[in-house]
């Protein structure tokens, strides 16, 4: 079977992002960019499916600017076989990204699409579900375990209050949660090999996708900063402050 895995280039998770001084957007000049952590987990799962002999081919896809090639090369170094870049400099909303992925699904006809549950830039948590709607595939979001069983995938999902197991017929969209796996590090030989793996480029226009935004960013601001309070000497003083000053315990 064929696995399609989507990856997104995002600001590295260690970077503390700030608004630009004029409040028109986020200051992304000279910040470190990386593969979205949840996407990395999805790539790892795809590669494991291949190593188990369940998947025959892993195709990585990214939608974004030319530099997104770096994240596709990362996916190839982790074990994907080939990559597709849907090249655009536009700001891409989840719906537009899902439409591009739908077009890629139409030509690639994957059996399973693995994606991160959310990207840590927009924190939307939408694209996988939207791709499910557009393709008509079933979906299993927030996966912490995936088992392929013939024409179905049995997926354990992280839900409020616990875990839910569902069975979804293939082809299906599965989005990864944190505990699905622990991604490997790419070895140097694999990084070198990844440079020679095929990477095709297309564009939203070639795929017939209208990417005009539906949502306008009017401005950004810093959240209200919390002021640091006081240090207490010991537990007795802490309990006294909580009872008599903050009055949050009785």
């Amino acid at each position: 079977m064929k696995v399609l895995v989507a990856v997104k280039r995002v600001v590295d998770y260690n970077v503390k992002v700030r608004p630009k001084a004029d409040g028109t957007g986020v200051d992304l000049a000279n910040v470190k960019m990386s593969i979205n952590p949840f996407c990395e987990i999805a790539v790892e799962e795809a590669v494991r499916l291949k190593e188990k002999g369940v998947a025959a081919e892993v195709v990585a896809v990214s939608i974004g600017a030319q530099q997104s090639q770096e994240q596709l090369r990362t996916a190839l170094a982790l074990g994907a076989d080939r990559a597709i870049l849907v090249l655009t400099d536009d700001v891409m909303e989840p719906l537009a990204i899902a439409k591009c992925l739908k077009a890629v699904c139409d030509s690639e006809t994957p059996d399973i699409v693995l994606m991160g549950k959310q990207a840590i830039d927009g924190d939307n948590n939408q694209t996988g579900q939207m791709l499910g709607a557009l393709t008509g595939y079933g979906q299993a979001t927030f996966a912490s375990e995936i088992a392929i069983d013939g024409d179905n995938a049995s997926v354990i999902r992280e839900v409020d209050g616990g875990l839910q197991t569902i069975s979804v017929s293939l082809p299906a969209i599965v989005t990864s949660d944190l505990r699905l796996n622990e991604p490997r590090y790419a070895s140097l030989p694999n990084i070198m090999k990844a440079k020679k793996k095929p990477l095709d480029t297309t564009t939203p226009a070639d795929l017939g996708v209208d990417t005009s935004p539906r949502v306008t960013l009017l401005g950004v601001e810093r959240p209200a900063e919390r002021q640091a309070g006081i240090k207490v000497e010991d537990v007795a003083q802490l309990v006294d402050k909580l009872r008599n000053e903050a009055k949050v315990i009785s």
Binding site: N124, M130, G138, T141, S144, A246, I249
Partner: protein, 309 residues
Amino acid sequence: MSILIVAEHDNASLNLATLNSVTAGVAIGGDIHLLVAGESCSAVADEASQVSGVSKVLLADSAAYTHALAENVSLLIAELGATYSHILATSTSNAKNILPRAAALLDVQAISDIIEVIDTDTFKRPIYAGNVIATVKSSDAIKVLIVRGTAFDAAAVGDGSASIEAVSGSHDAGKSSFVSEEVVKSDRPELTAAEIVISGGRGMGSGENFELLNGIADKLGAAIGASRAAVDAGFVPNDMQVGQTGKIVAPDLYIAVGISGAIQHLAGMKDSKVIVAINKDEDAPIFSVADYGLVADLFVALPELDAAL
């Protein structure tokens, strides 16, 4: 304006998280309808009809909706929602699973995690783990909004008298099926609804050591949470995670124990009214957001705190 709010429930009772979306709906302004989709869930519809500000409850009772499978419920929402100006739900794992799918069926760009309503098409939402608040304006004819529960008060229950209308037909996409569920049963309050939360981090050292929090939680009537580091280390299950990728909480009192205060954890708890940090590292970033900081070894401080309460 007409607003459809998708109710969260377990077929027996209304999840109170729904009430936060009703308040967001009131802020938008308009006729508010609550959709209760499930199986044998008329008790939920009765409860929903008592919610203040709701004028109608739509009851979709079908075996296809028993477990709120996304493929089925999104088809229902897309069908019913086409005549509304706004579709809302509180950001539970169910809503996050279903609403974006329904939005795409309606060719709408949904807006996640709104924390403020500016007007009928403009909203504020956090991005980049809450480091930045964006003001966004939707140009879609229908606005699909996923509401951050902690940012809106709960609507009152009891004085409403909405009519209940049954929805005919049912959507079964036949794409997925429910197998089983493993829900942790606890006498403690739910994390997102608790007035007091006590959370442990990597500093707890092990899953067994989380038991040190039990006695304190029992005395305070608190829920127990954890940082992502504690979840990643395998100490506790992911449904206890507070943070950008876990639960967002805003209790009256948040006690962070052995938590350094990574950005992604702060994103999940910094709107708490009073924050207490207990950490042996006096330079831990958690102290910069704490109202009361105690620099101490948690293995000494926790038993003392337990005894002092």
